[in-house]
Amino acid sequence: MREEKAFYEALGRRIEQCRSAKHMSQEKLGDALSPKLTRAAISNIETAKQRVLAHVLVDIARVLSVKVGDLIETPPSQEAPASEPAAFKRSLEEASLPPEAVAMFTRRVDQQQRLTAKKTTKGKTA
């Protein structure tokens, strides 16, 4: 629940930032939408008192000439950042594992990471 609140607050802030950057008033933004929204509604969206509907968000992005994705704060990947392959290999070697074990782990980890990368790209383009 708290995460949701933070999400809409961040969304509202982004909308407000983009709107201000375009020197557009809340009223102007509301008027440019179809169907129109009142100044109060825009204000409520920006302060997260009101949760914006998906199609309205698309329209807001259009008026502000930004991508919907630019307005939404995507969570950081839950996967931990991978270390450099060389550093990983070194850590295995430092653990005095035999070369075949080092090769096996680096191969398997590399495989997994490419698989994860593929999945991530797929998700983005879909």
């Binding site: 950081p76 839950q78 990983f88 653990a95 594992l97 035999p98 075949e100 074990a101 096996m104 782990f105």
Partner: protein, 180 residues
Amino acid sequence: MRREVIEQITQRLLVEMDLADAVPVPVNDIAERLGLPVMETNLGEGVSGVLVTEGGRSYIGVQKADHLHRKRYTTGHEIGHYFLKHQREGVHVDRESAVTFRAVSYRTTRSAPGSDPREVEANQFAACLLMPMPLVRREAKKLADGPLVDGDIQRLATRFKVSEAAMTIRLETLGLLAIA
């Protein structure tokens, strides 16, 4: 107290995976279902298993030359390290504290029942997972109404695909062995 907690954790894991009645416990399947690939290779002398965590994922390495029963125990031990260390109970993932460390944790044959509490816990985890209390009690009861004899221990070990040594300790822990 700690063993009872581990006992509960492994039991819950088995129930969730619909394996509460499975003998022998399919320990490799459990690892795979937890997202832990198990790989067998030469790990060098004196090493039974490794748990490698990289990029937020963990991998188990098992000493290829070991006996099947030994390998199963090692896998259970590494699952224990993974499961207990990362506190994977519950479904909440705190993004800010997402796992960013990389660790290679060893299990040498020498340190088996050592004093490092994590090793002790991982060993308890392996024992509880591979020889679930209700199943061991049930199977033991099938063999003998009274105290178990040597042949029974061997039979139970074979049934659960664990070493006789591991089964003996387990039976002792569960109070199923007559005090000699």
